[in-house]
Symmetry: C2
Subunit: 237 residues, 2 copies
């Protein structure tokens, strides 16, 4: 591939030709390969994917994706940092390994429809509306939480976990604030309770869960445990 070309396509390559293609480009290009194959994964779990048509994507950071005809998630994958080797037998076999944890994917390919090597330089990504930004807003404008609130420490560490935001209310009582960007569930209440249980051994303390909504049972639980829920309006008026 000349340095001017963005991509190179191989149609119905032979096994040997794909092997060479892979070894030539796997460190510099993203590979997109459409094949008939079966897949064996073993590692943290163990899985098999029977014969079918699958899209294989291999990124130069070592990521391996095996996609099927639906769903957002790949059927099988290997995360960044994984190796890739090929063997030519009766079928073409691709093996991707990672070390920690030890995991292996074996792709047995019977037919290669096409393979593309692509020179991909991605853009810059920015995102807004995360939990972190909720916390930042409350730190900047503490009255958004409640009148008289004073933030003390972001990510306050305890042996029971890390408190999103520790502060004091207008009476000087410690306040533990847990933020959720989506509807708060039982687990969020548990989390807040953990922090409160720890801190209240030393000080009187309030616990406030801040989220745009809360499930029914989480709301019942939070009342039962004497904690508070504060609905968060994303408007941030």
């Amino acid at each position: 591939m000349s340095f001017l070309e963005k991509y190179l396509v191989k149609h119905n390559p032979s096994f040997e030709s794909l092997q060479e293609f892979i070894s030539n480009y796997q460190n510099t290009h993203m590979l997109i390969i459409f094949v008939s194959c079966k897949v064996f994964y073993t590692g943290r779990a163990k899985s098999t994917l029977s014969w079918g048509d699958h899209l294989i994507i291999r990124k130069k950071d070592g990521t391996l994706l095996i996609h099927g005809s639906n769903k957002r998630e790949p059927i099988n994958w290997q995360p960044p940092g994984s190796s890739l080797k090929s063997k030519c037998r009766r079928n073409l076999i691709l093996i991707s390994r990672r070390r920690h944890p030890k995991e292996e994917i074996k792709i047995v390919i019977s037919k290669i429809y096409f393979a593309v090597a692509v020179d991909c330089r991605e853009g810059k990504f920015q995102i807004l509306g995360t939990e972190n930004q909720m916390v930042q807003q409350v730190i900047a404008k503490p009255y958004l939480l409640e009148e008289g609130f004073t933030p003390l420490k972001r990510e306050f560490q305890t042996p029971y976990g890390n408190i999103d935001l520790l502060g004091k209310d207008k009476k000087g009582t410690f306040v533990i604030v847990e933020f959720k960007r989506g509807k708060a569930q039982l687990s969020a209440v548990s989390q807040l309770k953990r922090y409160v249980e720890y801190l209240q051994k030393k000080h009187p303390v309030r616990g406030i869960l801040v989220a745009p909504g809360i499930t029914k049972s989480a709301e019942e639980l939070i009342k039962k445990w004497g904690l508070e829920f504060k609905k968060w309006l994303s408007k941030a008026s």
Copy 2:
């Protein structure tokens, strides 16, 4: 594309040609398109991806994936069930929408390197080694948990959440068992504690966390709360 062909490639298609290609194949084929583009997402959060080369995959179930040059995760995406429309302006614009929640992705394309439509029939997938299988093993061989254990109910529902496995020990005391397939963390202890707190209002009850390992602080917490940890040997001897 004839019904015999597995795939069809367009090299450097014009905007209009890609529009036609998409509308012809988006309901029956997986589309794989490599372009120079920028992306705007708005919905649960809001993000921008600046100009760069990105791989666009559109599955016939409506899934949209926008991949960059590294990482397992797509930079932007739309889940199954999303729509896709195109507009031709100065650039080619693809818009994918979903209803619940209301979310939109706008892809502004300045250059199309290639587009492929693919007829993808995926294989059957099977997986072993999940949490569910740990539970099934204990149900089949209760002594693996402890001598004299009797399983009573899988997924026992409480207003505090669902208990993986409820049973009784040899003395007839209720036992709540929570399984984790990986190293158990603070959240697992919290979860177990929730169930125990609920049931112990009515009966004396033990809580056992079953996992191949446990983090230091989770172990301390589980002791402090009077719960038990049982190390799970995947050997299932």
